[in-house]
Symmetry: C2
Subunit: 352 residues, 2 copies
Amino acid sequence: MAGAISREELQLAARNHGLPLEALRFEVTPVGLHYLLIHYDIPEVDPAAWRLQVDGLVERPLSLGLEDLRARPAVEVVATMECAGNGRARLEPHVVSQPWLEEAVGTARWRGTPLAPLLAEAGLRAGAREVLFTGLDRGVEGGEEQAYARSLSLADASGEDVLLVYELNGAPLPPQHGFPLRLLVPGWYGMASVKWLARITVLAEPFAGYQMRSSYRLRREEGEEGVPLTRIRVRALMIPPGIPEFLSRARVVAAGRCVLEGRAWSGEAEVVGVSVSTDGGTTWAEAELEPPSLGRWAWRAWRFTWHAEPGEHELCCRARDAAGNVQPLEPEWNLGGYANNAVQRVRVTVAA
Amino acid sequence: MAGAISREELQLAARNHGLPLEALRFEVTPVGLHYLLIHYDIPEVDPAAWRLQVDGLVERPLSLGLEDLRARPAVEVVATMECAGNGRARLEPHVVSQPWLEEAVGTARWRGTPLAPLLAEAGLRAGAREVLFTGLDRGVEGGEEQAYARSLSLADASGEDVLLVYELNGAPLPPQHGFPLRLLVPGWYGMASVKWLARITVLAEPFAGYQMRSSYRLRREEGEEGVPLTRIRVRALMIPPGIPEFLSRARVVAAGRCVLEGRAWSGEAEVVGVSVSTDGGTTWAEAELEPPSLGRWAWRAWRFTWHAEPGEHELCCRARDAAGNVQPLEPEWNLGGYANNAVQRVRVTVAA
């Protein structure tokens, strides 16, 4: 593995939570095992006093309480969410930020009200092109004091599964997932699904705030304009088989039949296959892919039966989607350390 | 801060979860914000097939299902739990293991059935002295393959608040907290509260397994017998005031009246006071301590009004308990990096 992690990165790793990979066995991730990336602090919100403002280029600005939103038509979407920084700590040269290995993912049942009809009720004025979402979480980043805020094009914001979410897995949103209300943009990296929503503002132009202009862009060099991150790249992860060593997490597997299992997802198109290698990527075989029982935006389960022979092995899994995307074998470096969907490699020792 | 963190430690930090310190504002920690230290993997348990075995030096060995345990008298205890390794990453020389700063803590409403009457029903045989608790979680540690297992003296196991817990905060135990059943030993570091309980065995002698003999002992040197860790040392933590910088977590506070708040606890005796310093420990003043509304085993809230003047400040809080224990100003090093309850130091910049 690459080099050491600084104390500043440790502070981030200690407060942001990853999915322990054995929790891939749950098709819907239990609360407390879903990944969390929280830029600033979890804000304190009084739900009785909280209002969502809808303003900007609209005919009728709105101010909605939580009960107003709960009274609107409700939709439940099961969606896999992944942090744009997942895989960052596997990159070389090292990129300093939240040091995810590959655990920044989770799948939840998100319940809320669709955004598009609410924007239609507010009435878009001439020139409306973009929708800005502003959270209650405040901090300093890149030298700028800010509330976390990101925008979507009007077309992206009008997607039928774009929701204003107030429930996760059948219960009110927990504080750490954006209570009382968050945006959900299924298929996009998590940065788009703004938590602790306070305000939705219709704009004539894309928003040029820090989280749009400076963060969440694929760049090779400083100063480059770069490409904004949007949809989640295809990825498969495996439940590490056998049992772990506490400190090194090295895995020990019993010889014989061993069922390798995991999940695969892509925000760009449906997952169409997962292949598995048990020799570090030299040879590959096709895994069995389960039907997409949870809908378009959720991960799909896969399994592969391995006949484990004594010795050292490197297990890999590699997903591909209907748009022709396939996971790279090696990381593709970029300045922000984003979207590294290189194949997972799990080293195991099969006992004699 | 001390030096760098290795990749092995990062793997641990990425799967074990800390309490983001702003979550100290909740008197009972929401699910998903409580700390988690999981030695091996979260085991998969079929609750219908699961049984708790009670055996060893008992007259009538028992085999109990979850419904049998739920049918027994139920008690709810609010208890603060802390990892014995909390504070480890603040020690120098560096100790390699889960690199906690100070976030390995949480408070939950634990509901279950008292252990002592269950042991009485099983009937202790002559020579019964110790009770061993074995979990379903398996791994390798110190070169030994093992299920996580720890023992308590019969006296400690018979404490009236020692529970077999099946609910956390009013809902079934989540997988990561020991579903379907765990032990709760209020006031002790978390290692005693064995998760995913499978077996309770009454013994004639203290158990000499890895987690008793090798781990969880205060030692200055290898080979020393050391002192076993038991009760949680006194500690106060503060909600870092103001707003954070994303990467460094440096805090910016507005000038003027600033209420510093936090919580304090001790497993050894009741907390009797918290003092606060806003000048890095040169001078101290007494904080206001709230009544122990959640019972003996839960943390207590404290608050202190600070008149913040522009400049750089180091804020500290320091608790003391009824047994005369007070937090040290500097860490007390030991080989395993345990029980570091040195005062928290929060650096803030007050804007002009």
